[in-house]
Symmetry: C2
């Protein structure tokens, strides 16, 4: 029998969101008449923008004629899209990034998962706790975070995000090689000021660390002192990569497109101490194991950089933010301690006068209110006792869910 | 500075096809008036089928309305597509595969690259030589094939494909854990009979090996005794995965869709000898590091399983086969020893009366005939002295290229 990657043995049996889905299906099987309002998974509900649809239709026309047909595209993404990204997301905001530092991919989850391949197994990993569970799982699969038979986690440094620090972690006291930061944060909804973010860039410069900055939710930033990109901080291009997604911004969860910025100033070292550009390593990985994103998809993403596309993103983000704020306000009234919902579509909450665990809260809300949420413990041990709700459902469903919550007053 | 994956140090600086592209661009820069006819890279030139375009347009309509909008899809692919694949590619051909053994992905290159993650670093790898260079590079990046400082390649067993064995390798004499087989083959164009393929399945059953069967070119099989799927062989579902692509079949090189079959009968073992289903391991990998293929793309692929889709695939494959046969016939006349072009869009050739190396042949054809080919040596040392040409250009261009070849008679 063929030997397999032993690291899989140390993963939880199923991915958090699959388990939530399984429990919801189980509840529906037993209660087929009940309608569940889903406030758990971070999936969007509003359709693609008309300008995106239009651009993809044009791309389909190109693909239907021999003269304009496109076969294999550049693995790094088409110039037209990389140049639009560079101009609109960076240069116009005063950030010096060039288009050969942009890698278009099929979404942040894939890029975050695959990026690990270019790093040594010996890297010490710093993860916000709570955080998006894929960061942890990715590093376990790759063998960087190693779990002993007794369950001890090696090479993992937890960066605690608690109400005491407004969910912005303190700098680690020890050396960390790769730090995953996500702001606006999933799941806590916290955004970071440029001043606070600068401390992380300084730490990384001092320590020779790398920051993988997940800014999938940047379009939800509304407060002027909060960072939308780590490259707003000087010298960040010496220590950080940035992962972006069109999923939440523009409803691309089912279309699959995002990008990763790998500055040419980033260097790593081989075992023999030879230095190497991380941009060239990632390019080598992508040209070997990936073949680019659909031309049609890239044309759709390109439309997001038109004036109309920019307007739609703003309006779309506002819509989901309004939902998040309604959720936040309602939960506050119902006796929850609430954060998020200001620069983020996420609401992070725990009952003020209860020490119920996350899965019990999940189950009670499902059974009493027919509302599904995500148990905070699924994002890490510092998520214990919390639940995450998202503003991604429709306004009508969100309002209905909040009315149910108020009327049933589940007394959690 | 951050420590990187040391295995990258042992890869060639650039991926074969990037190097070919670079040399062509360089030639065009110096000779801007020359028009190159590209017979090198395996990229298709015919547009998407009307039924595919139509289906993708309908998907775009779905995505433009809230009621029919699709967000995150199942990581493994939509049921409608997996069921169509199961029925048309397997059940109707008498093969017992079920839809939960099908994983829809963004193309064979990605799946082949990522599949390695579920296997141990200690697996011994058997590769056809010559073969598609990504198999080798993938396994070097992952650390299964290990290269010593003196250049020795550990854990790699070469399965030589030479004219003496009609480009069908002999069974290895030693134990191999993972064997990559590709039929119809890239680059040699060889197809395998069911009798010959059965020997490999028997070897794997005896040895407890796994076969990763790349059948990206199955739609080009024309001879009745040749296998289109490894699952035509009894008990293959105990030892083989199969990777398929819509790229060459249906012009999806720029659309990105394919699938991998991971039978539930396949098992592996962890370091503690516990057994595990490879289907469940691959599902865990995909749910963690991948988020499925665009709904629009999957609707396009679905159209390939309609009656009209089947007809178009047949016609499309015939078109490219006609080109390949023209190339094969012309090269034969010009004094080349030729294989392929019967059940394959590839032509594998070397001059009969010359021992020029592959890159010299490449350069001479580029300079004298303005035709680009792929140097055989790029596919492995047994490709030395060969060139690969593809039937994927238009018939007009192919005919023109062959006329040039005849008139210039480059006398290689």
């Amino acid at each position: 029998m063929i030997p397999v990657n032993d690291n899989f043995r140390f993963l939880e049996k199923s991915y958090l969101f699959s388990e939530v889905g399984r429990r919801i299906r189980e509840f529906k099987r037993i209660n087929p008449e009940k309608e569940i309002i889903r406030m758990d998974i971070g999936d969007v509900t509003r359709p693609l923008f008309p300008c995106v649809i239009e651009s993809m239709k044009e791309a389909l026309e190109d693909m239907s004629e021999e003269a304009t047909f496109k076969g294999y595209g550049p693995e790094q993404g088409y110039d037209f899209l990389r140049e639009a990204i560079t101009e609109e997301d960076y240069v116009k905001r005063g950030i010096n990034i060039s288009s050969d530092e942009i890698f278009v991919g099929d979404g942040a989850k894939s890029d975050l998962g695959n990026l690990g391949e270019i790093f040594s197994k010996d890297c010490r990993i710093g993860l916000m706790n709570p955080s998006y569970p894929a960061y942890y799982d990715d590093n376990v699969i790759d063998g960087r975070i190693r779990i002993t038979e007794s369950g001890k986690r090696l090479n993992l440094i937890n960066l605690e995000c608690l109400p005491e620090n407004n969910f912005i972690p303190s700098l680690p006291r020890e050396h960390v090689d790769i730090i995953y930061l996500c702001f606006p944060n999933n799941p806590t909804g916290a955004a970071i000021t440029r001043d606070e973010l600068k401390k992380w860039v300084d730490y990384a410069l001092n320590q020779g660390s790398l920051i993988i900055y997940d800014s999938a939710y940047e379009s939800f930033v509304r407060e002027g002192d909060k960072a939308r990109s780590i490259f707003e901080i000087e010298e960040a291009d010496k220590v950080a990569m940035e992962v972006r997604s069109f999923s939440k911004t523009a409803g691309f969860t089912g279309v699959r497109c995002g990008y990763t910025v790998v500055p040419k100033n980033l260097t790593g070292k081989f075992a023999n101490n030879e230095t190497v550009s991380l941009n060239s390593l990632w390019l080598r990985r992508q040209t070997t194991k990936f073949n680019g994103v659909s031309y049609i998809t890239q044309k759709g993403a390109f439309a997001l950089y038109s004036k109309e596309g920019r307007r739609c993103i703003e309006e779309n983000s506002d819509y989901y933010l309004r939902n998040a704020r309604l959720i936040g306000a309602t939960l506050s009234e119902q006796g929850f301690e609430v954060s998020g919902a200001v620069n983020s579509p996420y609401v992070w909450a725990r009952p003020k006068d209860s020490d119920k665990d996350s899965w019990s809260l999940f189950q009670e809300l499902l059974e009493k209110c027919n509302i599904s949420v995500t148990p905070g413990i699924g994002f890490g041990k510092s998520g214990a006792g919390y639940i995450r709700l998202t503003g991604f459902n429709s306004y009508e469903n969100t309002r209905r869910a909040m009315e149910i919550l108020q009327s049933k007053n589940p007394g959690l």
